[in-house]
Symmetry: none
């Protein structure tokens, strides 16, 4: 009787790991809170610490998720533009350059009034994007597709392109930047991006949709502002790489984009599972467990702890942890047979930093018939006592594939 | 007084590591059994867990032994054929392709009757191999050498060869397969292998040795069936790589082949040390300790636990562990001065899987004057508490070389 092939569930609690918080008597939120359900998985399985990328490297959520899915971010991450492009289904090809864009509002002197154009969304963005078809600048095809809300993607296709250019989006500033090449061979691409913005402005400024918005007192989306240029990334589709099907259960567009770029299906979620602080976590978890009936692998991302960390608010993070423990309890009570369950984070977001850090994250792996170690508490220190030791993000799915009895023998 | 250069003994307990066994109240065989002598080495030395290749990768015994000897299997493993060829002393060269072969018995319509030809062995295989000399197929030299028992090696030498071909050996099936190229440039090699089989059949079917076997009611070895094609592997000879002499103490042909391919001498063993379940472990251990008088490094492989794991029999594995503890006791009582002793496995063979897994294996390193840690039990969890942490197979010999005071300083 050979052991059964198991399914795999990753519960990625975004930004959950932390550093010592003065407000919590020098403890991390995870150390401070009682978390019997999270602890159960460590206690009955194995604990460890994980460097999402490598020790001391401060990951983004995108690069961390790539690594946790087993893709070396050094090879597979070429910027946010390409991930977003592939994420929305654009057929990006070697030689192409992709950029993320915001629909924005500029005045007559091209100063930015609103970098999200009053958070415009479909169907208006669809109408606007239609007017940007058939754009060719000096032999470079400019393909525009809408993404979520006020976002869009620009794909440049043609000879002699380079991604080594600066952003046109000034971020918090109001002065629209000219895109610049960082080296001589990138100057042409920068020129194309700047001409693209001019052309957008020409086509959008008097667009009927914008005239309607202005008449209604709304910000007209009269320009597209690009950033995050990147070239074609080599990402082997998930199903080819691992021989299993996979789905992503996430509210955040960025996470969905990364997962889709890797070839995971995006599992549909009801309203309310939106990656916000008060996202409906139990409904989302229910969806993740449902997804496991259809897929061999499910990645669920829960964003809330990251938001509390970015807010620099340990008490808020403690409240989130109470909800996350309820999620763990919900899973524990409905424990699917023959499943490998991973509880971890994509990165730490220490409250004291209000940003991501390169600290290792706690990780727990549980499945029936695995060797139990003596770690018994899901926290930065509790997990460090476990037998997983200190692993890397890129090894996590390999470890789980083996526990799921799905690996091929290398050698004989 | 500079520290003395020490010798190194690896005790590789093949397939010893395991997962939770329901029959052993959820414990692994190592957790379940009292092993005072194995424990002594952890208690007086250091413990850790080791990924033979890398986390989650399920090793073969061949790739694991390569890694444990410090060779990256990703570079040095090109298939079983080349390891077997080099193991039996064939001078394999870049451009050559090597395949393992079985002497087999086929009927007139080339259906396989016995894929081991009644387990034929020398001197008959020697007589048969002599008749296969001077074989040239379309400019490709076909060199055949006998290996152990019913096994042989085919070395192809000439222009335009490729190892990307399928096996002719159908494994458990009776229908002899035609070898096929997996891409266009491999089709010629596949054709050569198929012609080779025809030529073998022509030369062997009426060979006097086979006529004698048939007359005696034995299976005639009237064909050679190749599998496991591989190209020349880059394996730096052990003595050049480490500057020390080394020997292998093993019963299994495969382990001897890998070790010989790396440049270790094969230490002669008396009958009874054959890598079986009831192999004479104490005599083998005595030989390993004797070998340490002649060599700087000795690798001893004990196969029995792997067999019990493949049998899916935890109780049998427990019996083997009792014998392995006696081996550890034997070594402890005769502790050679100035020796670094390693107790570990090449891979886990969990009874529940009846096959290898990618779980990390327990490892203990002991030598006088090393830092003792708090690990005190030789098991999957006991060793995980040690200060070695989670290491990789490829690092093991470097760690031991340094404890043996034999490393060169990198830098100044």
């Amino acid at each position: 009787m050979p052991a059964p092939k198991k399914r795999i569930l990753f519960v990625i609690m975004d930004g959950l790991g932390d550093r010592a918080c003065p407000e919590l008597r020098g403890m991390t939120p995870l150390q401070y809170m009682r978390t019997p359900n999270l602890d159960w998985f460590v206690d009955h399985g194995q604990g460890g610490l994980m460097d999402p990328i490598s020790p001391g490297i401060r990951p983004g959520s995108d690069t961390a998720h790539l690594a946790i899915l087993g893709y070396d971010p050094g090879e597979s991450y070429t910027g946010r533009g390409p991930l977003e492009a592939i994420g929305i289904g654009l057929d990006m090809q070697p030689g192409d350059i992709a950029l993320r864009c915001n629909f924005a509002t500029v005045d007559d002197s091209l100063e930015i009034i609103d970098r999200r154009a009053g958070r415009i969304r479909e169907p208006e963005t669809t109408e606007l994007v239609e007017s940007l078809e058939d754009m060719d600048i000096d032999g470079i095809e400019c393909i525009v597709r809408e993404s979520t809300e006020h976002r869009a993607v620009l794909l440049l296709r043609g000879e002699g392109l380079s991604s080594n250019i600066t952003d046109a989006d000034p971020g918090g500033d109001t002065h629209l930047l000219m895109c610049e090449g960082r080296d001589e061979e990138s100057e042409f691409t920068a020129y194309v991006v700047n001409r693209f913005m001019e052309e957008c402005y020409e086509r959008l400024r008097n667009h009927p949709t914008n005239r309607k918005r202005s008449a209604a007192g709304l910000m007209p989306a009269n320009i597209l502002v690009p950033r995050g240029a990147g070239c074609y990334p080599h990402i082997e589709p998930f199903q080819e790489k691992y021989g299993i099907t996979g789905a992503c259960v996430a509210g955040m567009g960025m996470i969905k984009g990364v997962c889709k770029a890797c070839g995971l299906d995006i599992y549909p979620l009801p309203d309310g599972c939106d990656g916000s602080l008060d996202s409906d976590l139990i409904t989302k978890t229910q969806c993740a467990l449902e997804a496991l009936n259809e897929y061999d692998f499910v990645l669920m991302n829960i964003k809330a702890a990251d938001i509390a960390g970015h807010n620099g608010n340990p008490k808020e993070k403690c409240d989130v942890i109470r909800d996350l423990d309820a999620v763990a309890g919900f899973i524990k009570e409905r424990l699917p047979e023959d499943t490998v369950i991973v509880l971890t984070c994509d990165h730490c977001t220490p409250c004291i930093l209000e940003d991501h850090s390169g600290d290792p994250v706690p990780v727990a792996i549980f499945t029936r018939d695995m060797v139990r170690d003596e770690a018994s508490e899901f926290s930065e220190t509790g997990c460090s006592k476990g037998s997983l030791g200190r692993i890397r993000g890129m090894d996590l799915l390999n470890i789980c594939m083996d526990l799921a009895n799905r690996t091929e023998k290398f050698g004989s």
